[in-house]
């Protein structure tokens, strides 16, 4: 029985976390609600999942849930890897821009030092 309580508490925390993310689309919230309702039902009445499992040709309800979780994890991994690699290429763009800018600044500073242009700029500002 303790395990049910633990699962329900974790589920409640997860649900709370998802719902305070206000930027989520209504569609996401509806899907999340359905999943939460199903999860609560299966935690309280695990035997409810057996008929569905039988209908789909999987041994027991617990097996079905394990498979669903595996599929979900694969989707999540692919999704986050894609996001991760997009971030990587964004980061490259930033690093590149910075390298080019840094060089420009160095060159400008060198020219200023050589010609004396802008020598008083710091003083004027202060």
């Amino acid at each position: 029985m303790i395990i049910r309580a633990v699962f329900l508490v974790l589920l409640a925390l997860l649900t709370f976390y998802v719902f305070i993310q206000r930027r989520r689309l209504p569609f996401n919230l509806i899907v999340m609600s359905l999943i939460v309702v199903a999860a609560v039902a299966f935690i309280l009445r695990p035997e409810m999942s057996d008929p569905i499992a039988n209908y789909l040709g999987v041994g027991t309800g617990a097996d079905l849930i394990t498979y669903l979780i595996q599929v979900g994890l694969i989707f999540a991994t692919v999704h986050y890897y894609t996001k991760f690699s997009t971030l990587q290429s964004e980061m490259t763009k930033v690093v590149r821009e910075l390298a080019l800018l840094q060089h420009k600044v160095e060159r400008l500073t060198e020219t200023e030092e050589q010609t004396g242009v802008g020598r008083d700029r710091g003083r004027a500002a202060s």
Partner: protein, 254 residues
């Protein structure tokens, strides 16, 4: 009379020297060498100095090295751009390319920092682009010479060329040679978005896709213990293949 003769011959000599200088300046004008470097402090100085002595304009992209690559390259006479964090060889190359295109480069030579390439191969590569009108001149160690490569490396290189040719559709003798010359106009089509080592395959794929003209040029590669340690192995090439296909599956050019 002797003095006049001497003055005259001096003037003739000076004129010849000026002419040579002018010609080589015209030839070197708009020509840039881009060298991506990551922790290459030991070799990059010598590599840059060799190129600078030939009168070439060199830009080294220090890809977030932890050693003194930046300082060494700069004191050897290169312009150094620095990535604040390591982004990979492909990313470093593209940074260098962006920079030299901004400097109105007409031909860009890509060159490795580990000392395996020979500066003497550059004129032939550039001439292939400038005089023969090819968009891209690709170095080939199998048409040229390769020193210090064991049987294992030779087989590995042949195999990766075979795989790469299947992917790009180009019938090359050497698909992963880092020394090449590319015209500025072609570079606008050949944007490298593969930050890692898969950029070499991406480049070939893009050449085929944009129907750019290319030619292989014999080059000499010298493997040393240093450059061998820096080279690719089988595990890394599997990673490169993964990057290639992952990128491609996302709708980008691989």
């Amino acid at each position: 009379m002797g003095a006049v003769k001497q003055t005259l011959s001096l003037a003739v000599e000076q004129h010849a020297r000026d002419r040579l200088a002018r010609e080589s300046e015209a030839q070197l004008h708009g020509m840039w060498v881009v060298i991506p470097a990551y922790n290459e402090g030991k070799m990059v100085g010598e590599v840059v100095a060799n190129l600078v002595t030939l009168g070439l304009q060199v830009v080294v992209v220090d890809d977030g090295s932890a050693d003194n690559t930046q300082a060494v390259a700069k004191s050897a006479g290169a312009i150094v751009l620095r990535h604040v964090t390591n982004r990979g060889q492909g990313a470093a190359l593209q940074t260098g390319i962006d920079f030299v295109l901004g400097q109105k480069a007409s031909v860009v030579v890509t060159f490795d920092a580990d000392g395996q390439h020979s500066a003497e191969d550059i004129p032939a590569l550039v001439a292939t682009v400038r005089d023969e009108g090819a968009d891209v001149a690709l170095g080939s160690r199998f048409l040229g010479k390769m020193h210090g490569a064991g049987l294992g490396r030779t087989i590995f290189l042949r195999l990766s060329t075979f795989v790469s040719n299947r992917l790009s559709g180009l019938p090359l003798t050497d698909s992963h040679c880092g020394i090449r010359a590319i015209s500025a106009s072609a570079l606008r089509d050949l944007r490298i978005t593969q930050d890692g080592m898969a950029h070499a395959s991406q480049l070939l794929y893009s050449i085929a896709r944009h129907r750019l003209s290319w030619k292989e040029v014999p080059v000499t590669i010298r493997y040393t213990e240093y450059s061998r340690a820096k080279g690719q192995n089988v595990t890394q090439s599997l990673r490169i293949l993964f990057d290639y296909f992952f990128h491609r599956s996302r709708g980008g050019q691989p």
